[in-house]
């Protein structure tokens, strides 16, 4: 609504509307935090309830999970570089690093899909027990978020190519980067409380 403009600060903060959007997105992330907390709590309550299906430590693979963690953490870093390039006004740098981020994100998703398929072949499916339902929904919700984030980033890459770095596109890139870092944080919790603990239990 408001039109007041500011000349100081980074480009994405220079219109009142952008400031509102960024604050709104932070609050949205708070809601996402509540959403993932509920899923984590559900997972914790249902852990150990594997019924006739295999136990998690029989299936979890330290190597592939570590690679996934590495891929996603690096993508968060490259996403940070992309925003840095944007603030330097380099459209080419921004696009390059966004695309690197996307590739890392897709590699992560590839590993995750492969992991899910392996588990299903080993007899651990969404339907096989309460524990595995909770596992697939928690990890799957994160994976779905990454997919949506990647799709969103592709849209922004197209818009950046069409319009360059403007007050609006810079705000959009900044917001998608917040989202991407948030998903990274969630993954760290999944890595520790699902995979690391699952491997020793």
């Amino acid at each position: 609504m408001s039109e007041q403009n500011f000349s100081s600060g980074p480009l994405e903060y220079q219109t009142e509307q952008s400031r509102l959007n960024i604050l709104g997105f932070w609050i949205f992330l708070a809601a996402e935090l509540a959403l993932f907390s509920t899923l984590f709590a559900t997972y914790a309550v249902l852990s150990g309830r594997t019924a006739d299906a295999p136990a998690p430590f029989e299936l979890f693979e330290p190597t592939s999970t570590l690679i996934m963690t590495f891929l996603l953490l690096t993508s968060s870093f490259t996403c940070g570089i992309a925003v840095h390039e944007m603030r330097n006004g380099s459209k080419k740098g921004l696009l390059t690093w966004l695309i690197v981020t996307l590739l890392l994100g897709f590699a992560f998703l590839g590993f995750e899909i492969d992991e899910f398929i392996t588990y299903v072949h080993e007899g651990a499916t969404l339907q096989s027990s309460a524990y595995w339902s909770a596992f697939f929904i928690l990890a799957g919700t994160h994976g779905l978020h990454v997919t949506l984030g990647a799709g969103w980033m592709i849209l922004l890459v197209i818009q950046l190519m069409q319009r360059g770095i403007t007050r609006v596109t810079s705000r959009k890139v900044f917001i998608v980067s917040l989202y991407w870092h948030f998903l990274d944080v969630v993954w760290i919790f999944i890595f520790t409380s699902v995979y690391l603990i699952g491997m020793v239990m």
């Binding site: 708070a30 509540a34 959403l35 509920t38 559900t42 019924a51 339907q127 309460a130 339902s133």
Partner: protein
């Protein structure tokens, strides 16, 4: 699927409902076509992003839902009036108490209050609209289509019948096959998107778009209560989202969260549901407290007593609301220690609530009370709500709750808090802000008839239920024993009294539209806060210029100084957002997807979901920057609405 499985068959009452739906729909289509109003409907309403119009649409939908939920209630009360009556079958009775509860909480109370917040909050803080007007329209249509989805269930597919709490395992696929429960899950999920979005939207609006000088502790109480409500929405609604999604996945895709097989935990549903559900009752009661505070201050002609105590008690109630959910199922057997903890936290809530009661009484103390209809609703709220609150503390004692649980004592308690709290507030708020919304007051004489009938009906209906409950009558039974006849019959009479009260209220809307005197000033009641500083009807941009706020009662200060929101020296062009049909279309597509998922037509649902995503992509590429009102246009609008052009 055969057609007779798709439509609900065999119930005369439902056939009646179908005929009514067909008649009303055809009448609406005919009238819109005959008066050539389709374009008007699309341009002025379906595509609007104006918070005032969206608020009006919320309130109209909520009134329709109040009618629907009320009809359910009257059917239940008719069935229970006389022992062993067979007006409704057991199945039909189950469906009706389920839809009554769900409709009243999710599709009546919340949208009614959100509608009032939509209209009033930006005006109270001196904002020109919400922070995100497009998202606001999206929120409304998500609620609208969610409500539509839930409501078609009674003619298509069959209503849900597992209670508004939808406890598992009863509501799981094994014990409740068919589309009924899916309607509940998808209807709430669709509407929930909008509620969460409104929570974020309104929070940013209140935090960032206040008039110059309006510090947090200078905001009107209704705005404060809306802000805290947003906070609760943001942290409670994701829990509902997850709970609904998990049960949907259980039912449709065979996961084992709440099942009796596969080591699922049915009791986890009760926990998740009430971790949302208890904050939810504060989502519908805190804004009500806010409305009463505004109404009481205005008609006591006094500044609200104990402003900061009021605000802090709202904040404390909001915090505690997340810490009491187990009191809804003490009898589930969590153990003495857990029950004691939640018992204590429950009783703690009575403290800040009591503070608020004394603040309202303090405001009334030695004041000149003007007994307008809105004020009557607010005044009657205080003693009625106290009865509900005190019986709530009784229920909060875990040991005693083993006696009260699942009885009519509980039913009486929550109707006392929700009707005396929320419904009275909706009527009070609508009556109070009506002139700001429509440019004329509701007729006071009819308003008082409706008030007295509703109030007396309410007490006659629910006070006996405390005693039938103590006498041992359980809730959710469809036949009463002869020993409970007298009090039940009395209760039914009361229910019809409330029904007549509501009918008069609705007639009053029509009557006042025809005969009420039109407002010439924007200040219908001698208001204290900024919404009354705007001219009536409120211009699309709300405020031509903004005052400097130094006082809680900002408009009182302006009146003393002789200021208005039309200071010709300070005029500047005003930026406005463009109307958009996208929110309507996007939610219509998601409605289609949800409907398909209800019947487990996975391909169709996937197509619908893809359609929703495509709409989001289209929106992402939309760089529409809106338009401006020029200084001259603003001058013209303000002069005509303030009656300055006749001089």
């Amino acid at each position: 699927m055969k057609l007779d499985e798709f439509f609900v068959t065999g119930e005369p009452l439902i056939y009646g409902g179908m005929v009514a739906i067909v008649l009303v729909t055809s009448a609406i289509i005919f009238l819109l076509t005959y008066f050539k109003k389709w374009k008007w409907l699309w341009r002025e309403w379906l595509t609007t992003v104006d918070h005032k119009k969206i608020g009006i649409m919320y309130i109209l939908s909520a009134l329709a839902m109040l009618f629907r939920g009320g009809m359910d209630a009257l059917m239940m009360r008719t069935q229970l009036a006389v022992p062993d009556l067979n007006f409704l079958s057991a199945q039909h009775y189950d469906e009706i108490f389920t839809t009554h509860g769900t409709v009243m909480i999710i599709f009546m109370a919340m949208p009614f209050l959100i509608g009032l917040m939509n209209i009033v909050v930006p005006l109270q803080i001196g904002a020109r609209d919400f922070a995100f007007p497009f998202v606001n329209a999206l929120s409304f249509w998500s609620f609208f289509f969610g409500a539509l989805l839930f409501n078609v269930s009674f003619v298509i597919g069959g209503s849900p019948d597992a209670g508004w709490t939808s406890y598992t395992p009863l509501s799981g696929a094994a014990l409740s096959p068919g589309p009924g429960q899916n309607f509940y899950l998808m209807g709430l999920q669709l509407a929930g998107i909008g509620t969460l979005a409104t929570g974020i939207n309104l929070m940013v609006t209140i935090l960032k778009m206040r008039a110059p000088g309006m510090k947090m502790f200078k905001m009107p109480i209704f705005t404060w209560s809306s802000l805290i409500t947003c906070f609760i929405i943001i942290f409670a609604f994701p829990i509902l989202t997850v709970a609904l999604a998990l049960l949907t996945i259980d039912r449709i895709f065979g996961s084992q969260f709440f099942t009796l097989t596969g080591e699922g935990l049915p009791m986890m549903w009760a926990n998740l549901f009430w971790m949302w559900g208890h904050p939810e009752v504060y989502i519908v009661v805190l804004p009500a407290f806010g409305i009463f505070s505004e109404v009481i201050a205005t008609f006591a002609h006094k500044r609200i007593f104990g402003y900061s105590a009021m605000v802090w008690s709202i904040i404390i109630i909001a915090g505690l609301s997340f810490l009491v959910w187990v009191h809804h199922f003490f009898t589930m057997g969590a153990g003495a220690f857990v029950n004691s903890v939640f018992s204590v936290s429950t009783m703690l809530i009575a403290v800040p609530t009591g503070v608020k009661i004394f603040n309202w009484l303090g405001t009334l103390h030695k004041s000149k009370i003007e007994f307008s209809t809105a004020m009557l609703w607010a005044l009657s709220f205080i003693p009625s709500f106290v009865i509900g609150g005190v019986t709530g503390v009784m229920l909060g004692m875990a040991a005693a709750d083993y006696q009260f649980h699942n009885s009519y004592f509980l039913v009486a308690h929550f109707h006392y808090v929700l009707i005396a709290g929320t419904v009275f507030a909706c009527f009070a708020g609508l009556t109070y802000w009506y002139p700001k919304m429509f440019g004329h007051k509701l007729n006071e004489r009819l308003g008082k008839w409706s008030f007295w009938l509703f109030l007396i009906g309410f007490h006659v209906c629910f006070l006996p239920q405390y005693f039938i409950g103590l006498d041992g009558m359980p809730r959710r039974i469809f036949h009463i024993g002869p020993e409970w006849f007298t009090l039940n019959f009395l209760s039914t009479i009361g229910a019809f009294g409330m029904g007549i009260g509501f009918a008069i209220f609705v007639y009053n809307i029509y009557y006042s539209f025809r005969y009420s005197k039109r407002e010439t000033t924007g200040d219908a009641w001698g208001g204290r806060t900024l919404e009354w500083a705007t001219p009536t009807p409120v211009p699309p941009y709300n405020f031509a210029t903004l005052p400097e706020v130094n006082n809680i009662d900002a408009f009182m200060e302006m009146k003393e100084k002789g200021e208005t929101t039309f200071d010709e020296k300070k005029l500047q062009p005003i930026h406005m957002p463009s109307n958009s049909g996208k929110p309507f279309i996007m939610m219509a597509i998601l409605f289609f997807a949800s409907f398909a998922l209800v019947f487990e037509w996975i391909t169709l649902a996937a197509i619908g979901l893809a359609g929703g995503l495509i709409m989001m992509i289209i929106r992402s590429f939309d760089y529409d920057e809106g338009y401006h009102f020029s200084v001259n246009e603003i001058k013209q609008i303000e002069q005509s609405r303030r009656g300055l052009d006749h001089e």
